[in-house]
Symmetry: C2
């Protein structure tokens, strides 16, 4: 399983991903899912979830185009699209190529065609944006009102974001929200695991400056884990208990009265 | 959608359920999902998730048996099984009856046969237990090591339980963990909603004493919500930020170097 997350903030973007891939619980390996492409005028972070062979195929096609683009600057690549929307559409076309090559064979073995991609970044002169590309190749983008996108095992890590993250969350806080979202997911699903990749992009910087890979025994990650665990339990303890006696018993719909 | 939860504690059991049913987002109604059956020697709480017509059918069959059981005490009903395991098996047989009646017709319309039940309670002389019955009629029970069972929309509300709830959590704290699990689910999925039913059973009491229905505007629920929201954000704020400069940049796997 995979969990990738991209947080759109006023100050920039935070991308996070886990690094576990599993072909059954008896075949779990480390497989980083974040790739960053950049030049002087753009920074584009690509994260994928889904069948590893499919996501690797899509990435291979994207990088083959870049090789061609070196000698033929007019050739369409991830790095010469005019807008982030066109970058998302471009990735969509690569997903559709993989679809054409592999979907039928996979489906005949009962496997789903399930690539999902998150594309986050900025092109000089334009706003920073994040997009999700679906297995069909179409896309959606985040907004001020819905400022994050998730792919893969997204549910366990969503509540903490729903509760506290907004477009106006400072970038340094957003990193913490994202990390807690990953950590929470890992706690509830063993198929999501460390190392965690984090990329924090400051808008208009066009730099890949804040990028780290946190191993499972990383000191900071351990500290976050401990503080979060202890803090949550203390928070629950501090909430007053319910006073059952204040309530009238609810109407008990036609339950058959017991024999006694 | 539905979310029902049963927490097994040393001191007893806490059952919680939401009250929303939806046949598409344009047809959402209130439908309580918790039913409690009891006599002098047993307390059994039944919660169901899945297609409303299926769960209502299962309940109807269970209650029809009870009507027959009134005049024929030897007739097998929910209230005369010797153990909680047999109660779960009994519910399983009712689910299989519904299966026989309805599965084929539902599947021919592309609908899934998806009843899941939680059965929680105690029979005098035996331990208090909680069981989950699957759509196939078989069951599992909770244990000291895995002390809670969930049905329906279970993912959003699982992390808080994984983080802080154990078999040894006092009953009053368990109520709070359960309520926060429901509240979290409701925040992340609009098809789970108030009123919330809560039943807190003290082991060996054989009483339905602590049972409430919390409406959406309930004062206590509002207080819990506010304290949780503010407390979580404060907790994230208090966690120190990552110092990106301590980390060596991760190896960037064969990303094609940009043209610049």
């Amino acid at each position: 399983m995979t969990y990738c997350l991209s947080l759109l903030c006023h100050e920039g973007i935070v991308c996070l991903s886990d690094s576990r891939t599993s072909a059954g619980v008896d075949n779990i390996r480390i497989q980083p899912k974040m790739r960053i492409y950049h030049d002087a005028d753009r920074v584009i972070c690509l994260m994928n979830s889904g069948n590893l062979s499919l996501t690797q195929s899509a990435v291979a096609l994207i990088e083959e185009d870049m090789l061609i683009g070196r000698s033929d600057p007019g050739y369409p690549t991830l790095l010469n699209q005019p807008t982030m929307y066109e970058v998302a559409r471009y990735v969509g076309t690569k997903i559709r190529e993989v679809d054409k090559t592999d979907r039928a064979a996979l489906q005949s073995s009962g496997l789903r065609f399930n690539i999902n991609s998150l594309i986050s970044g900025q092109i000089r002169g334009l706003e920073h944006q994040i997009f999700q590309v679906y297995p069909e190749g179409n896309s959606v983008h985040a907004s001020i009102e819905s400022p994050f996108l998730q792919i893969g095992e997204f549910k366990y890590g969503k509540p903490i974001l729903d509760r506290g993250f907004t477009f106006h969350t400072p970038l340094a806080e957003a990193v913490k929200f994202g990390l807690l979202s990953l950590e929470t997911t890992m706690k509830s699903n063993v198929s999501v695991g460390t190392p965690f990749d984090i990329f924090c992009y400051e808008r208009d910087s066009f730099e890949v400056r804040y990028r780290v890979r946190l191993q499972g025994d990383d000191e900071y990650l351990q500290e976050v884990r401990t503080l979060w665990q202890q803090g949550l339990i203390a928070l629950v303890n501090d909430i007053p208990g319910i006073d059952f006696d204040c309530y009238v018993e609810p109407r008990t719909t036609p339950e058959v009265p017991a024999g006694s």
